[in-house]
Amino acid sequence: MSHFRTELRQRAEELVALYPRKRSAMLPLLHLAQEQDGYLSDEGIAEVAALTGTTPADVRGTASFYDMFHLEPVGKYVVGICTNIACLLAGGEEMLDHASATLGCAVGSTSADGLFTLEETECLADCNLAPCVQVNHRYVRTTTPEAFDGMIEDLRGGRLDHDVPSHGTLIRVRRSGGLRADRGEVVAERAEAQAAREARAAKETK
């Protein structure tokens, strides 16, 4: 029995098929597992291990290296606030303190209603709109405390559901298309084309 729901299981199998080696699908699969469960559950990890031909311990060890993977449940909304250099110069630390007060939770923890997890992040590559705030890895671009509070109210009221999908959802656009041909065939074709080009070049120089 698959722990992933049917649609995600299908996407997972497609992902594995994209790579020359199964293990390469590790990070995309972990994102999928997180999309379903909100964090990396034991069942999700076991399924990723099976899909990549590795062990749960190996998957857990790999996942723990990466900041975006949560080994414990997190809030519905993961709020990330950057305090790195450009944001520091624009009041990132003050924004983080403000967010902590608004959400009623310390940095690195989840609000009592389970809705928000607050994180201090490194540079999020949006430094011209500093301090930078992301919710579920979507840029919300609230650079003042008032705008931040308004955004939180909008999240609570469900008004940002489209812009900020649930935690873990990284790509709503599903891959279509792909090279369905046998790779050996492609390589053979390539060699043939190269030979033809060389023959043509030889003729031209004559």
Binding site: Y19, P20, R21, R23, S24, A25, M26, L27, P28, L30, H31, T54, G61, T62, A63, F65, Y66, D67, M68, F69, T83, N84, I85, A86, L88, L89, E122, C123, L124, A125, D126, C127, N128, A130, Q134, N136, H137, R138, Y139, T169, L170, I171, V173, R175, S176, G177, G178, L179, R180, A181, R183, V186, V187, E189, R190, A193, Q194, A196, R197, A201
Partner: protein, 434 residues
């Protein structure tokens, strides 16, 4: 005055609301360069790029054409495109990925054709959720349009591009760590030699790794010719470049300007660019090229924005990021935050980097937050010297990758330039700005 008459090579479509769509891309000449490339010999496509003298835009500035030619002797297996962009205050790839994903995709296809690879991976930072969607959509559209997949535009060339999300780790921007991540492992940089993934890359096979912006330049180079690109800029720094300007300026943002023809002053003060310092304060220092780079003072404002020009003055243009600090900036706090970043992101394989970064961070923390001692200032320099002996630039390599030896850059710069600020922190028992 800034020189702003150069063509926009990579940001020409950015002002359109729908710049990310195939419709807009095709309406503005999109995929014409690819058609042209496919009518050329792959070697000639590579030769154009060589002639353009396009320097890699990921940080090290290695000429793309030269990187490719090292591989021409043996077949390349994979092209890997680096879109991990996590160097603090660098945000130009983010701009390219969201605003013009088709240009990036077309660049990748052209590079793949020149290298004759049939499999490319685009590694994008996981935090770019919208960027990932836009690029995946562009890839889907390109397949649909016949620009990707089997027998592209009816030629005998076939290519597959896989968009691969990262998961939050700065070190995965280092190319060998990126390859490890692409193999589904922890992002540990690989021991060198071999120095280039060209020798042993993805799955142990010859691999070319190039930055997103490097790829984005290719459609223009093929359409207009390498010579036209090389005619822009000056010296080894040809073409234009995206500069990500941030910090205490009025108009922070991504600006495409001609290399060398413009100076730091132009970028920071020209009304069409940075527009000057917030509240017209005095400039204190700039960080050129990302937080791994040594700082410059106001005395170097008239230095041209060129790779060699900046290197000669002991720093680097690096990732094209420029951070402006002004008289209100506490340099101890800035240095502490940068060091905290390195300490958080060190992968932990090498002792000088792992232990050194944490120790430096703790010393800087106590200087900034109270409890700093007079001897801490020299302790910082001594620890830095242990990580990068001699505190030279470029730094001496004591570790597997250059993250470690980059840690002392800001500390050494800040203490050399503003030692009095550190002393004031000791005397005040914390930050006098608070």
């Amino acid at each position: 005055m800034a020189t702003l008459d150069a063509p926009r090579i990579v940001s020409s479509r950015a002002s359109f609301e729908d710049s990310h769509t195939l419709t807009r891309y095709l309406a503005t000449g999109g995929y014409d360069a690819l058609r042209k490339a496919l009518s050329m010999f792959p070697e000639d496509v590579a030769a154009e790029v060589d002639e353009a003298s396009l320097l890699g835009r990921g940080g090290a500035g290695f000429p793309a054409g030269r990187k490719w030619s090292m591989l021409r002797k043996s077949p390349v297996s994979y092209l890997v495109v680096n879109g991990d962009e996590s160097e603090p205050a660098t945000f130009k790839d983010h701009f390219l990925v969201e605003r013009d994903p088709h240009q990036l995709v077309e660049g990748i296809i052209i590079a793949a054709y020149a290298l004759q690879v049939s499999q490319a991976f685009l590694f994008l930072r996981g935090e770019f959720a919208l960027g990932l969607e836009r690029v995946q959509q562009a890839v889907n559209d390109a397949y649909e349009h016949g620009a990707l997949g089997r027998k592209i535009f009816g030629s005998s060339f076939s290519l597959d591009i896989v968009v691969h999300p990262g998961a939050g780790a700065y070190i995965c921007g280092e190319e060998t760590a990126l390859i490890e991540a692409l193999e589904g492992k922890r992002g540990f940089p690989r021991i060198k030699p071999p120095f280039f993934p060209a020798v042993t890359g993805l799955y142990g096979e010859p691999t070319v790794v190039n930055n997103v912006e490097t790829m984005a330049n290719l459609p223009w180079i093929i359409s207009n010719g390498g010579a036209a690109f090389a005619a822009l800029g000056g010296g080894r720094s040809t073409g234009t470049r995206l500069f990500a300007l941030a910090g205490r300026v009025k108009n922070p943002g991504v600006y495409e300007i001609e290399m060398v023809k413009n100076t730091f002053r132009d970028l920071i003060y020209d009304p069409a660019l940075g527009g000057g310092i917030i509240d017209d304060k005095e400039l204190k220092a700039i960080i050129p090229g990302g937080v791994s780079a040594p700082w410059f003072g106001p005395d170097l404002l008239d230095l041209p924005l060129g790779q060699d020009e900046v290197a000669e003055k002991g720093s680097m243009l690096g990732s094209g990021s420029i951070v402006v600090m002004d008289e209100t900036t506490c340099v101890v706090r800035a240095t502490w935050r940068i060091t905290k970043f390195f300490s958080r992101e060190s992968c932990g394989q090498c002792t000088p980097c792992r232990e050194g970064s944490g120790w430096l961070e703790r010393v800087l923390y106590r200087l900034e937050h109270g409890g700093g001692r007079a001897e801490d200032i020299d302790l910082l320099l001594d620890l830095s010297d242990n990580i990068a002996p001699g505190l030279t630039w470029p730094p001496q390599q004591t570790t597997i990758c250059v993250l470690g030896p980059s840690i002392p850059s800001s500390i050494h710069s800040a203490i050399s330039m503003f030692r009095d600020d550190f002393v004031a922190h000791v005397q005040h028992g914390g930050c006098p700005h608070d």
